[in-house]
Symmetry: C2
Subunit: 314 residues, 2 copies
């Protein structure tokens, strides 16, 4: 399915570059290869999964339009893929999503429906609207075509990075990207081991891997890593993660901000807090001298947060 | 010479991506393709020319070491190329160069010699040290191997961007990159026309092209575009520019800051002021509806200036 998704994506996806810096290698104490997925269309890897899911629909199903729920990156990925397929998209988004994500999703032609992250259930809202308006629901990670689309990032890593026996650190929310990359590397670069990276308070995947059972986050936690603060691993993703992933890393918001500033200074790329979790783990939680591949998953960050990252590092 | 430089660079250079955004196309009123040279090693295209020049030396000449003068990007490009060739490098830099450029050049192992931009002549200082210490001087643009190295960026543009009859806007200082790209496109994509972009007060190349004679800037001018504030076109570069380039664009510091903020928001890349001149021209001085390729030449900017760019755009 990942290879089929790669064929459907080939005419439109951007092969994002692998970036390196001797300064970053020095901080991490090992060679660090950064896959810059923020340079993907819509500023995150999510375009891969959105396009994969929409392009896999029958023409008849597709024509009715799609619906998704998302804090903002899946939103934009689905919105652009829908726009380029000439179909309509409804996106259910938290009212406190970053302004840039709300604006961009609307600007890409999607109809945005807001909900309250604290008190409402986005899955219930999305499922209800999908039913009422006969739209195809594209879940952000519990959808095989979405996982396959994200997996194309892993096929690229296997092709682009010439390393053996390395860790691959992935910023992890519901686990769609992490599972997709793990499946792709199982086939194309089996000496690479995927390890999920999560913010403090939202380390559900890491604790689930440790215990072998699905764990859920404390509902009162908060983090600036809006892209990856999901309640628990997905139903489809967790079995994949359990089979293929190594132990994960928990990073603090402050470490993510510092990683953003280092990426600004050394790589010349913009990363959002949730997209910096893997780089933060490589920089500040190194537990090995193995080469490490870091997936910098997105760059959709408001200027105020980015300035804060630069401030604390000056 | 450009193709030979490309062969020498092939094992080490990063093929920088072409980035696009529908939001940027909307502002410019035409399709905009951004060549993100800030993602090159050392954060600017200058690594191409530095590596090209050092790798072209005989082993005997190379072993004696090299010297360069530069406001900071050529400095880092030469310093890294020298380090990777295992030779020493002396770099003559203005004492008011951005801190990031001074620090990085030293961290890459080069010996930095400071001079006063207002009162001293860097060419005289560099030539004297080269003579005293038997070092090979690598001028920032008036060196055929440097021009050939920068030209490899043009070979990539011809291969990566599928457009006809388009403008190619290049941030222009002494004209090494502009001339190199123009020569490469003359061979590989002759329907593309190179047009130099310069900051107000430093439009020597543009005025030289208009008058047909070498013009010099007023010594009292100032600009935040430190990378491209050269006094006049090069001796080697001007005849090439005169033969191949279309009319240029003069942009203001403020327009460069706004272009930096738009690149942050829409492309997720970091551009320095002088590296944003071409994007500023595409965004704010469009004189055509033709497709346009923009070379974003570098990303070595201090956090304070970058924050200023985000501030004025909020």
């Amino acid at each position: 399915m990942i290879r089929a998704a790669a064929l459907r994506l080939a005419p439109v996806v951007r092969t994002t570059p692998i970036l390196t810096s001797p300064f970053i290698d020095d901080i991490a104490g090992r060679r660090v290869f950064v896959k810059a997925e923020g340079l993907q269309h819509t500023g995150s890897f999510k375009f891969r999964g959105g396009w994969s899911a929409i392009s896999a629909l029958s023409e008849e199903a597709r024509a009715k339009g799609v619906i998704a729920y998302s804090s903002g990156n899946h939103a934009q990925g689905v919105a652009l893929a829908a726009k380029e397929h000439g179909i309509s998209a409804v996106i259910v988004m938290p009212s406190n999503a970053p302004a840039i994500k709300l604006e961009n999703t609307r600007a890409l032609g999607a109809e945005v429906v807001l909900y309250d992250r604290e008190s409402e259930d986005r899955d219930a809202i999305g499922t209800q609207i999908a039913q009422d308006r006969s739209l195809h629901l594209i879940k952000p990670y519990d959808n095989p075509y979405v996982i396959a689309g994200q997996g194309t990032c892993g096929l690229e890593i296997a092709r682009q990075v010439d390393v053996q026996d390395a860790d691959v650190l992935v910023c992890c929310g519901g686990g769609g990207l992490t599972a997709g990359i793990a499946l792709a590397l199982e086939a194309d670069a089996p000496s690479l081991r995927v390890r999920p990276c999560e913010p403090e308070g939202f380390d559900d995947v890491i604790r689930s891997l440790e215990s072998g059972e699905v764990q859920t986050n404390d509902a009162t936690a908060s983090s600036i890593c809006d892209a990856i603060i999901t309640p628990s691993p997905g139903e489809l993703t967790f079995p994949i993660l359990k089979r293929l992933c190594g132990p994960g890393f928990v990073v603090s918001d402050d470490e993510c901000l510092r990683a953003m500033a280092i990426a600004f200074e050394r790589l010349k790329i913009v990363i959002e807090p949730g997209g910096a979790a893997a780089l933060a783990a490589a920089l500040f939680h190194s537990d090995s001298s193995k080469d490490v591949v870091v997936v910098a998953t997105g760059g959709n960050v408001d200027a105020a947060i980015f300035q804060r990252a630069l401030d604390i590092s000056r």
